[in-house]
């Protein structure tokens, strides 16, 4: 009993072939879109590569790029096949290739689905990577004279300005590390010496933040030094002041940004997957109906098209037997020939 049998007249078959030809070309375009989305994600991740610790997050854009290229190739071939299917004589050329092609495309659509799901699963890895990377970046903020880290200050400052955030979790992260290099500290001054001595590890810690944490929406000039000291500034209360500095942490800001990008990409890939699946179904119907027509002999008659010839269980059993017999052909035949 065939699965989802449909009857196809000659005109219906021709129309199906033409429609599938157009749909395959549209799929090539969606393949290009997938490729460019993967490329965009790769560029965005590399742009902030300095702020991310070593984690396995490159696999998502790489997967998207690979899937995009393969989708282009498969659908290009599919377009050629469907174009030739209108003419039954040309179909004979493709007859043997069509079934393997359909099976390959079926497994490929699984890859597309996996690609879409990966976009949503990257969240945890990304958060971990950003957490470690930002903590490192803040620690090395002052090392503008160390090769390999001299641009970290600029990167962190631009991050604060662009994403309107401060520190890893919040601005208090800056109170726990020394972000002013010793090169710019006057060690002969009493105040500096006191502060260094009061710290266990000899670090110069202050309750101040870099200028890039300043909020431009604040009505008063930015207070970046002695933030927790209410008496140091006129008409200032540290606990209720919200507009002075950026309150959001950069990890959360970056995570929101990347999650937004990946959700959009994931949605696009899901839609592409559904589209590919429908094109594949059409190609399968076309293939079965053309094969049946050839079996019947009369090229202009009606024929049946189906998804599977027998029911799902029987087809699975037959295929398993085929695979088993392939394995058996490697064994030496121990029975004596009659």
């Amino acid at each position: 009993m065939a699965v989802l049998r449909l009857r196809f007249t000659k005109t219906k078959r021709d129309k199906l072939a033409q429609v599938l030809w157009i749909l395959n070309w549209i799929s090539v375009v969606t393949g290009v879109i997938l490729f460019s989305l993967g490329l965009f994600l790769k560029v965005e991740i590399n742009k902030r590569g300095e702020l991310m610790a070593e984690r396995d997050i490159q696999y998502v854009p790489n997967m998207l790029i690979a899937v995009g290229i393969i989708a282009c190739a498969i659908n290009f071939l599919g377009g050629k096949i469907c174009y030739d299917c209108v003419d039954t004589t040309k179909f004979l050329r493709w007859k043997l290739i069509m079934l393997p092609y359909i099976i390959c495309t079926f497994f490929f659509t699984f890859c597309v689905l996996v690609g879409a799901l990966m976009c949503y699963s990257m969240h945890g890895e990304l958060e971990e990577s950003l957490n470690l990377g930002l903590a490192e970046a803040i620690r090395f903020y002052k090392d503008t004279d160390t090769p390999g880290r001299c641009f970290l200050k600029r990167t962190v400052d631009m991050l604060h300005i662009e994403f309107q955030c401060c520190g890893n979790n919040g601005y208090k992260d800056w109170f726990q590390i020394q972000w002013i290099s010793n090169r710019y500290l006057d060690m002969s001054k009493k105040e500096v010496a006191d502060r260094l001595r009061s710290n266990v590890e000899g670090k110069y810690l202050i309750d101040g933040v870099p200028f890039s944490c300043c909020n431009i929406n604040s009505p008063r000039p930015c207070i970046q030094q002695q933030i927790t000291n209410n008496s140091a500034h006129f008409n200032y209360e540290h606990q209720t002041e919200e507009l002075n500095l950026w309150m959001k942490g950069c990890r959360q800001a970056l995570l929101e940004y990347y999650t937004h990008i990946m959700q959009s990409i994931g949605l696009t890939v899901l839609i592409t997957w559904l589209f590919e699946l429908s094109v594949l179904t059409g190609v399968r119907y076309l293939q079965t109906s053309l094969e049946n027509v050839l079996r019947q002999g009369d090229l202009d008659s009606e024929s049946d098209g189906w998804l599977l010839e027998n029911s799902f269980m029987e087809t699975a059993r037959t295929n398993l037997n085929i695979i088993k017999s392939l394995g058996k052909s490697n064994q030496i035949d121990t029975q004596p020939k009659a």
Binding site: I161, S181, L185, F211, C214, I216, P221, F234, N235
Partner: protein, 344 residues
């Protein structure tokens, strides 16, 4: 005396019509591009409208948009005319429209050239507008509680950070203005009282700049206060320090940005102008060569095409006369003389 006479055999006329049809569609697309360039320029100018004193500079994008739209219409009609040109039956219906059509097209093409010239020539107007606008912006930086001025601080901060600039001419402009509002000054403090007393107008001036002047590329944390006092900061020399704050003035930065944009747009629109002018010239040749065919039974004869029937001055007078007559006539009617036509 005819201007630029050329011979047109039948095949040449056919080729001219076909080429012109294609060219006019290209020119139509270029007209659409000109319109969108005008829109882009207008949007960019409006983004920083708060630091501009007047909107004189907006005449450039406005002209570009008008010319772009007009060019779409002109080229649409051009393509229709050359489609009908080779058909002797359909061409005569355009006869009456062609003279005003050419007048209008020439006017808008010249306007396009004027827009290009203006985009290069209006630098001075832009600079003076920015000078006044920025000066006001810096003066009202502290007035975040005054309605109408509460966003000046935000605008100036954002401007300085986006364009990597500080102040109007340079960062010293901030030394001459009180940019910290009295609301945040502790008047019981001796230091504040001294500083205000030492100033003639009773203003709180200091040698410091807002945080938005800070340069992120500096290797050391930003020094924004006591900029001219070398001893206030360790290992700091005010005269040689270049990376601490932005040294460029915002007026120079903005003029540079907008002139770059307008020069690029001007160059593009110049090429559109050349394309449009060639469309009009070819159309004129096609029209005159087809008019000579009219009336003849044999449409495949060789004809002559020209640009202008009479010399340039006479043609201009011919076009301007009806316009002048119209204006003079209305003037005379207003003065009370009953409808006497002006003597020509």
């Amino acid at each position: 005396m005819v201007v630029m006479k050329m011979k047109f055999p039948f095949q040449k006329r056919v080729k001219l019509a076909q080429g012109l049809w294609l060219l006019s569609w290209c020119a139509a697309i270029s007209g659409a591009i000109t319109f969108s360039l005008g829109c882009i320029l207008k949007t960019e100018l409006r983004r920083r409208a708060e630091v501009m004193d007047n909107s004189d500079i907006h005449v450039v994008p406005n002209t570009l948009m008008i010319v772009g739209l007009a060019s779409l219409g002109i080229n649409y009609f051009a393509s229709k005319i050359c489609q009908d040109a080779l058909d002797a039956g359909r061409f005569p219906r355009w006869k009456n429209m062609l003279k005003p059509y050419f007048a209008v097209s020439c006017f808008f093409t010249v306007l396009m050239l004027l827009a290009v010239i203006m985009s290069f020539a209006m630098k001075g107007s832009l600079e003076s507008s920015l000078k006044v606008g920025l000066r006001n912006g810096i003066r009202f930086y502290k007035d975040t509680d005054t309605p109408g001025r509460c966003f000046q601080k935000q605008n100036i901060d954002r401007l300085q950070m986006d364009f990597h600039c500080c102040g109007n001419n340079d960062f010293r402009d901030w030394f001459e203005v009180q940019w910290i509002s009295n609301r945040y000054l502790d008047f019981s403090s001796k230091e504040v009282k001294d500083r205000i007393k030492s100033n003639v107008d009773g203003r709180y001036l200091l040698d410091g700049v807002p945080f938005s002047c800070c340069n992120p590329s500096s290797p050391r944390p930003c020094i924004q206060f006591q900029l001219t006092n070398n001893s206030a900061h360790y290992n700091y020399d005010y005269q040689t320090e270049e990376l601490n704050i932005y040294l460029r003035g915002c007026r120079e930065a903005l003029v540079h940005y907008y002139m770059g944009l307008m020069n690029a747009i001007g160059a593009g629109v110049l090429s559109v102008f050349l394309l449009q002018a060639s469309v009009l010239v070819s159309l004129r040749f096609l029209q005159t060569s087809m008019e000579a065919v009219a009336g003849n039974e044999n449409t495949e004869i060789e004809t002559e095409g020209y640009l202008l029937e009479k010399p340039l001055k006479e043609t201009i007078m011919e076009y301007i006369e009806p316009v002048m007559k119209f204006f003079l006539l209305t003037n005379q009617v207003e003065e009370g003389t009953p409808g006497a036509p002006a003597s020509t």
